[in-house]
């Protein structure tokens, strides 16, 4: 059996890791928000999503978190009329990525908030450990 405070650190660490991966996918979506195909009728960049899942750590029996899988968002692409574009089809329509900036920003705010919360629990666990060590000082 593992010390609970040490397990707390591990849980908070898994949370930080999961939120970091989420941030990575979000920044990938934002960076590629305008990436189109290179030949006529090509599909543009497809938005990616992350899914979290609970993972029980066998050594300590606590529920940690992990990124279960990243998926592609099947929302239809937005279509723009731009006949001079390299990826324009015979009707002059260009498929643009299905990335919604507002959605990405909202997602990012949630990721930051969750990251801060995880950091806070880790800080508090450290505080409890140092309180325990302070018992033998004085």
């Amino acid at each position: 059996m593992m010390d609970s405070l040490r397990a707390t650190m591990m849980i908070a660490g898994s949370g930080l890791e999961a939120q970091t991966q989420r941030m990575r996918i979000i920044s990938q979506n934002v960076a590629n928000a305008n990436v189109t195909g290179t030949s006529p009728g090509d599909d543009p960049y497809q938005r990616q999503t992350v899914s979290f899942a609970t993972e029980v750590d066998r050594a300590s029996g606590v529920s940690m978190v992990k990124v279960a899988h990243t998926d592609f968002d099947n929302k239809p692409f937005t279509v723009l009329y731009d006949p001079n574009h390299v990826a324009a089809d015979e009707n002059g329509m260009v498929k643009m990525p299905n990335v919604d900036m507002l959605l990405e920003m909202a997602d990012m705010r949630e990721a930051v908030r969750s990251y801060e919360a995880n950091l806070q629990t880790a800080k508090q666990a450290r505080e409890l450990i140092s309180m325990t060590i302070d018992m033998i000082r004085s």
Partner: protein
């Protein structure tokens, strides 16, 4: 003489164990705050007589041990959560922060009491 034979010492030990288990349950809630369908958990109120850490026997080393996740007191607090999300989860980060703060305060109080009690014991026996 062993310090844990003294009632106040063992009580303080149980309390600090309970608080650290509660802190780890809170940390697990926070980490899973964005996991779809995750229900917030909390530990039951401390009872000095109850066996806080149930010692389940495992027949295989790969089985989940009676670690801190399997303590007797972990219960889901469905009715107490402040919010429920569309994805089925009900972890409220502000609520978890409040709980973590409670734990931190109580832990500080507990360690101070233990410290001063220890000073009392030392002053009786002479250093």
């Amino acid at each position: 003489m062993i310090m844990s034979d003294i009632y106040l010492s063992s009580l303080g030990e149980t309390h600090s164990k309970w608080l650290s288990v509660r802190q780890s349950v809170i940390a697990s809630n926070v980490a899973n705050a964005n996991t779809p369908g995750f229900k917030a958990k909390d530990v039951k109120a401390m009872d000095e007589n109850s066996a806080l850490f149930s010692n389940l026997v495992t027949t295989d080393s790969r089985h989940i041990t009676s670690g801190i996740g399997n303590i007797d007191g972990v219960a889901t607090g469905r009715d107490e959560s402040w919010e429920v999300y569309h994805s089925g989860g009900n972890v409220s980060l502000p609520q978890e922060m409040v709980k973590a703060n409670e734990v931190s305060g109580a832990y500080g109080l507990n360690t101070s009491v233990m410290k001063s009690f220890h000073r009392m014991v030392i002053s009786v026996f002479g250093s």
